[in-house]
Symmetry: C2
Subunit: 277 residues, 2 copies
């Protein structure tokens, strides 16, 4: 692991690091905030997965998570959203496919399968890097994210409920198999057999029997992607009768931006801290 | 005044606006956060002046001031640091002069004097724009800033103590007449007569009899500019015996970045709110 930068903030350390990933076959950059409590004991880890077009840096700069993470004693890990590099397949000019749009899945179709293995990278390789290099209590992990990253958090939690004890999302894509900005990407990454898409769709996973104790979701009512891409009511429908809890806060006047995310960031970290205590 | 963007955040509105300035002769962009309390009554105004290379956007994205401003009911105004535009004089490649480096002074030397009139813009024209367009109580104003903007806040407060009821700074340039990054700029903006520099130097202003009730300053001990450019002990020396109060917090491990600023942002806004109540 290579240190790119480390800055003291809210009495902890905000770092940016990189590591050569065997799974993606590329160098991967990620941000880790370590709270002051880690000087005394291992701290719980909360994973934040970002949305389309983002790198590790957007939420690190605009998400305003450090005050709450410092108070609550949480390590916050912010991975990139795709492999990067000149030899990584991409669709230049299409922000919904390729670099910045990994959708937290393991691609099976050429040319994407060579590097786009974000599901395995996030769930297998990066946790080992975190465990090896930080004072992290890997027995206490939570996961959350925004938009495409909310999709990532929900699906990863549903497939690994034994590992993640808490899950929340800001404006998640709950049903990417039906949303107009993800269907073309799923076709290219996973092929035309829609059965292969279901492990990467929160609503389909729940329909197929996956379980998780409860989700917290905040969604802006003034979000321009609400009706075509996000549609949280589909998740509300999916969890009915399953015993999966869902706290869905519809926030009047809020949009899809970091101005929205940062407003409710402390609420989400508190949700995680309570479940990781 | 033209609206560039408005986003709801922490129950208030973060806006970006522009206006054609008669004083600088250019279009000027600025950010204004209006807290929810402004729906019921005019709110105090706190001015945040940014440092070298910054525009209005840096602190808006990374400064993390909205949570505290929303709680405390403060309007926060973040101006740009210089005039902008293709016809504005500049030294390309020199980040300490020209665009992004207006030093909050009224230049007297050619070619700078034509547009670089940031002191008058900040103290005369922009306040009228704010008063006309926002629910602002202009009888209750405070001012703060970072680095070059800390210099701006201190000197503007010292010259206008009747208007600004509170002043604070993060890592300010307290004595730009002696700091290596500002002497060449002052020569170009103001000429070789150092008497003309004194109204733009906090230590010199105090030496010449300017007064202000008290300043709050936070300074990182790990700030790489501390010993050559910032030197807060010079201000400590200058205020001795003047009755000017100075709370100077030297913060171990903190550097010059927004990771430092955001950490102490809420403390500073509280300082202002108490004095603007």
């Amino acid at each position: 692991m290579k240190i790119i930068s480390e800055n003291v903030s809210f009495d902890g350390v905000q770092g940016v690091y990189s590591q050569t990933s065997k799974i993606t076959g590329t160098d991967m950059t990620f941000a880790v905030y370590v709270p002051p409590q880690a000087a005394h004991a291992p701290c719980p880890v909360v994973w934040y997965l970002s949305g389309l077009t983002c790198s590790h840096a957007n939420v690190m700069e605009k998400g305003e998570y450090r005050r709450a993470a410092s108070e609550l004693g949480l390590i916050v890990v912010c991975p990139d959203t795709s492999p990067r590099g000149d030899d990584v397949a991409d669709e230049v000019g299409n922000w919904q496919m390729g670099k910045g749009a990994g959708f937290y899945l393991d691609a099976t179709e050429a040319p994407w399968a060579q590097h786009y293995q974000m599901y395995s990278y996030i769930t297998q390789e990066l946790p080992m890097v975190i465990a090896a290099n930080f004072r992290a209590d890997m027995g206490r992990q939570g996961i959350f994210g925004h938009s495409m990253g909310g999709h990532g958090a929900l699906t990863i939690a549903l497939k690994n409920p034994e590992r993640y004890k808490s899950c929340s999302a800001f404006a998640p894509i709950v049903n990417p198999m039906e949303a107009d900005w993800s269907v073309p990407a799923f076709e290219k990454y996973l092929g035309n057999d829609r059965a292969a898409w279901r492990p990467y769709d929160a609503c389909a996973l729940i329909e197929d029997g996956a379980h998780f104790p409860e989700f917290l979701i905040d969604q802006g009512v003034a979000d321009s992607f609400l009706h075509k891409g996000l549609m949280p009511w589909k998740l509300e429908e999916a969890v009915k009768g399953t015993g999966i809890g869902l706290v869905l806060n519809m926030r009047e006047r809020y949009d899809h931006s970091y101005y929205f995310i940062s407003t409710f960031m402390a609420d989400h970290l508190k949700w995680h801290a309570e479940r990781l205590a």
